[in-house]
């Protein structure tokens, strides 16, 4: 009598445990399901279309008709045989390199400076950086445009006053180099706060005693930086550099708005602008899709380091 009762009890308990375990195993999937569905639909479907579009002739006419005409790889052939594409790619690579190097070098120097100044100056400087960080990009572009306009821009006035040269009515938007340099300045200015504040947080991990001991032993500042500070900052520098490369390679808003639609030519295209002008503005969506896909592939290659690093962090929890 008693053992039989126990068995039924056991069985029901085992069944219940089986169910709780099954439910528990499905819980995480239930939790991520909404996001996976939303992203799958809103991003997955357009990505499928991107591939499809890139093999079709698809202009305004096809957009209204809701159907493209298959042309095989003609779009890719057209893009890869376009000298504008190759010039744009080269220009974008040079532009990205300049931006990233300037951002990282100046950013590191400023972070090191933050450690050396007095508390008051540190608070002042870091609040200033946070203020700059908070500026919306479109707003920053308008300010930059106002400061550099040739008629009464304050930049021309200040440079002339400082005796750097005669910049009276100097037109900063006259040459491609000058245009892109302004864009670089704008981007570096906007990117510095994030880099400096992140690196400064990393510098807090540098052991004080070690630095002091090295200094007492007569180590030069450069050696202290190379042998103590740099190894500690290395993981953060790696992440910041890869993020900067990815962001600057695909940058659109700053160059598009600062140079201005009317002054954008095939001679000052960056990758995103090339794609915007050739694909969207000229309503040649098929060719635009081919350019997009090529660009996405390049960014995917650039992102490998960063994504791998972040996945490792995510997995470790």
């Amino acid at each position: 009598m008693a053992p039989a009762a126990e068995t039924t009890f056991d069985r029901s308990r085992r069944r219940r445990r089986f169910w709780t375990r099954t439910v528990q195993r499905t819980v995480p999937y239930g939790l991520i399901l909404p996001i996976v569905v939303v992203i799958g639909v809103i991003l997955g479907y357009p990505l499928y279309w991107l591939v499809k579009l890139s093999t079709e002739r698809y202009g305004l006419f096809e957009l209204i008709r809701h159907a493209g005409v298959s042309v095989g790889l003609a779009n890719y052939r057209s893009v890869l045989h376009d000298t504008v594409f190759w010039h744009t790619l080269l220009r974008t690579v040079v532009f990205t390199t300049a931006n990233v190097v300037l951002t990282m070098v100046i950013g590191t120097l400023l972070a090191l400076l933050l450690v050396r100044v007095s508390t008051v100056v540190r608070i002042l400087l870091s609040s200033g950086l946070v203020l700059v960080w908070s500026m919306p990009v479109v707003v920053a572009v308008q300010i930059w445009y106002w400061m550099t306009n040739y008629q009464n821009g304050v930049v021309n006035y200040v440079l002339t006053k400082l005796g750097i040269g005669d910049f009276f009515q100097h037109d900063w938007y006259a040459t491609t180099f000058s245009q892109l340099s302004l864009v670089t300045l704008l981007i570096v200015w906007g990117a510095l706060p994030f880099v400096v504040i992140t690196l400064y947080a990393g510098l807090a991990q540098v052991p004080h005693d070690l630095v002091e001991a090295a200094e007492v032993d007569g180590a030069r500042p450069w050696r202290v930086f190379r042998d103590i500070t740099l190894p500690i900052l290395k993981p953060i520098l790696l992440i910041l550099t890869s993020l900067s490369i990815i962001w600057d390679f695909g940058v659109f808003t700053q160059p598009y708005l600062l140079i201005g639609q009317s002054k954008i030519t095939t001679g000052n295209y960056l990758m995103s602008i090339y794609l915007f002008e050739e694909g969207y503005f000229k309503s040649d969506y098929g060719r635009g899709a081919a350019i997009s896909l090529l660009m996405l592939l390049m960014v995917a290659v650039l992102s490998v380091v960063y994504v791998r690093k972040m996945v490792r962090i995510g997995e470790a929890q």
């Binding site: 809103i42 500026m135 659109f252 972040m310």
Partner: protein, 281 residues
Amino acid sequence: MSARRRGRRARQAGWNVVGIAIFVVMVFPVFWMISTAFKPNEQIISVAPTWFSLHPTLQHFRDAIDKPYFWVDVKNSLIVVSVTVAISIVLAFLAAIALARYGFGGRKLFIVLVIGIQMLPQAGLIIPLYVVLADYHQVNTLTGLIVTYMTFVLPFCVWTLRGFLLGIPKELEEAAMVDGSTRVGVFMKILLPLMGPGLVATSVFAFITTWNEYIFARVLLNDQSKQTVTVWLSYFLGSSRHTDWGALMAASTLTAIPVVVFFLLVQRRIAFGLTAGAVRG
């Protein structure tokens, strides 16, 4: 000893000077925007600049607000931003719990998805999004833009919330479970209140990125009465040679104010959330 200390103090004074100089250069554009916004026109157009105007005026702000579509576009921005953030934060919180508290098959793939999407250059997606949304007659509607924004806001929110969740010890929840609380009970009584600050900070940051977004709004909304405030601001210059600089800077100031205020409130938390992993890893 004292000579050495004096040397050190002199060096620090030098660094302070450099620090203040850099502060001036970095902050100047922001200062110049505000200063111009309050300046009378004759001071704006003169070649020799006036640093501080002694006769400030609010006229430029009136002009900016009276420009066509300002209020409509502000309203559009507010609708797009609040709907996007409200939906995203709920969905992202669920997924963040899955990431921070459960091990499951496919977890790594999900992380790759969350990180990878944030790296996609937005310009690379305008063409297919435009064509697909046009197919469903969602170009020029706020719905189309909201849906687009969600793909980018969601992964960001998942990752940031996951960081905040990891800061809450698992033991708290386990103890409550032992005491007989249900999973839902634990969620309501422990996780939700403790995550309050994290949820607020993440929402605010999502609010900022959405409010600032330019390229999708530019491509997906053509009608001037349907645009967001960033696109409105970008069209402000027009093509005339006589730009109304005062009104432009007033409009810029107005666009920036909500962002700056919110950003200053949450910057510390988010900056920590962004880098905590990097510093630890």
